[in-house]
Symmetry: C2
Subunit: 222 residues, 2 copies
Amino acid sequence: MTIAIIGGTGPQGQGLALRFARAGVEVVLGGRDGVRAAAIAEELQAQLPGSAAKIRGLDNEGATKAAEEMVILAVPFSAHNATLEALKPALAGKILVDIVVPLAEGDPKKVDMPPEGSATEAAQALLGPDIPVIGALHNVSAVTLKALDQSINCDILVCGNSLDARKKVIELVRKLGVEAYNAGDAQSARCIEAITPILIRLNISKAVPFSHAGIRICPPDH
Amino acid sequence: MTIAIIGGTGPQGQGLALRFARAGVEVVLGGRDGVRAAAIAEELQAQLPGSAAKIRGLDNEGATKAAEEMVILAVPFSAHNATLEALKPALAGKILVDIVVPLAEGDPKKVDMPPEGSATEAAQALLGPDIPVIGALHNVSAVTLKALDQSINCDILVCGNSLDARKKVIELVRKLGVEAYNAGDAQSARCIEAITPILIRLNISKAVPFSHAGIRICPPDH
């Protein structure tokens, strides 16, 4: 299996590339500059054991085309719509996995949602109904992703209008050794994306005696 | 300390009354019918050891007036605004703790948010800036609250525009033996209220091998 990570040269994208490649999923990192993406891919590969799947680097369009089915979007929100506009033709027949959180400019403790309600809904509106958009992986800290000696302290809430695509993304995400849950249609992204700034607030405020808090779905206590 | 629970005759209100009284906080249950509220208060008191604080029952207005400082609103969303409109004069000088989730009519797996963005924001708009509104306790299952042999499997995210009121509510909630976190201003209620239908979806769909899922803030794994 080969996935693409658009904006894959950023911290979140790099962390996901490491985790997916270690789990046996081939990754094509996409960057605005394909040469830089290839150089970062090489650096990441060197951090992994020989048993890991391959990480390559291309420009964003090349990476999108190289993905078998799933393309993860990991750009800052300021580049969200323009990147999708440019990649729309290459995304035909694929699933877009949108991990972008619309953090408020100058205040990462708040969201500033687009008129559609969330990044996932904005992406779905922009790409049209033939390209399923699935929101996922919003709440995992990039630092945690890159710390390969740690497991991931965060359940993944997966949402989007296509149930079939949701199931495929849940299966993909579970390869990282985390629990992933069906959280409903794209509207749920208004909630899920907004969990991230709440976690950032806890980390910044030292309200928790640790950094890089995650969230987990918990059974009843007895 | 004496708190009021408006709509306290419902399952969430009853569960909170039991938990707070057991923790030593006097509770005045408010109902539309004060006689019925008094009868339910008596039933609840009988479930608690003699060391528990007192639970009384009054009509909603009487309960609001009897509260020292904090008034918890636990009515169905359909009664949210009308109840607040009626209680506004009695709420002067107090803090409203809004636990209401605007679940969609006929689909508890979704929210149907009011134009203000969330129940908490609607309450704040309706009550005006002199009565602080704090959103909290949205995500705890009523069944869990009433099962007094269980501890509560859910951290509490507390939000609202007044930091001072947020701190007071965090202190109150912690009396239940749960962790409570400052989750920012009232806008965070758009996220926090919407977590509840995601948990309801997991419970209904059997996606988790248990009922009455909660959420917790988690430290990094090592």
